[in-house]
Amino acid sequence: MARKMPQLNTGSMADISFLLLTFFLLTSSINTDMGITRKLPPPPEDIKPPEIKERNIFTVLVNQNDRLLVENKPSDISLLRVQAKEFLENPSNSPDLPEKEMKNIPYLGEIFLAKNAIISLKNDRGTSYDMYIQVQNELTAAINELRDKLSVEKFGAKFSVLTNEDYIEAIKKAYPVTISEAEPENIGGK
């Protein structure tokens, strides 16, 4: 007759597997991908671009040394957000800033907004990607802040927490992302 096997103590087995479990939980960071979403324009066609008045364009130039030129004046990244906001909103209806008109947007009613404000962004081939993202970030922040302001005014909640699709569309229509990127120049020669 075979001898009975001595029983293994499996009490600590659970502890070991717990240890493994926590190890995997901690090391496997389910990395969420984040980023700035943009929509590229379709390839240029041979039609003439529409003429846009100077006052409706907010020019941002970035050179190969990551220096900014905003509306033909040297500027700094820390000022860009405020400048872009002022341009897009034109609170004082100044003749140098974009034309405004009454717009009738569903759910928002009649509001007085900039008619056709465009941010024109042009960078050099030598501009660093870091700077480019910072500029994009500031411009996005400017638009987001304006959207938030309007959203709080009309719906009593920030734009990012709105859930009603119609409301989101309405706000997007009031402040669209109008960043136009020109073909870059090669001045820095890098």
Binding site: I16, G35, D130
Partner: protein
């Protein structure tokens, strides 16, 4: 009476913990399986820039990645290179890459494909622009500049 007393003196019955490890192992395998996200081995160094206005990328299965940065191995030089899938590529390969990415998805989802550009922050815009022009030509308009959430550091 005596019978009852005998029963009471036995104390709490021991809980069988033998199956405990099985349950935990099940958890373990579950986590191991769901966290094996297809991750390409990077041959270019990518340190994304920081930005505050970042959005989460939705629908991971509909995202194709383009990496741009300096090669990890010093011997391969310091010029920024493009990585598609697991190998170096040139700007001319982008259109083919996008076409193949499209073909691997269902027809209904093809319009929703986002191209995520994971680009090192020291990269110059020239190569980025070339890639963007290629994407425009092939019609991949939805792009995402990968960035980490946080305040940009001052140089």
């Amino acid at each position: 009476m005596a019978r009852f007393k005998k029963k009471g003196s036995k104390g709490l019955p021991e809980i069988n913990t033998g199956s405990m490890s099985d349950i935990i192992f099940m958890f373990l395998f579950f986590f191991m399986v769901i966290t094996t996200i297809r991750e390409t081995t990077l041959i270019v160094r990518v340190q994304p820039p920081h930005a505050t206005e970042v959005q989460k990328l939705e629908k991971k299965s509909l995202v194709s990645f383009i990496y741009i940065g300096e090669p990890v191995k010093k011997a391969e030089g310091t010029a920024s290179r493009i990585q598609l899938n697991d190998q170096f590529a040139t700007v001319a390969d982008i259109q083919e890459f996008i076409t193949r990415e499209r073909e691997s998805r269902d027809e209904v989802d093809r319009k929703l494909i986002t191209t995520s550009m994971k680009i090192d922050k020291t990269t110059r815009m020239g190569i980025v622009t070339d890639v963007k022009q290629e994407l425009r030509k092939i019609g991949a308009f939805k792009i995402n500049y990968s960035a980490a959430k946080g305040k940009a550091q001052k140089k």
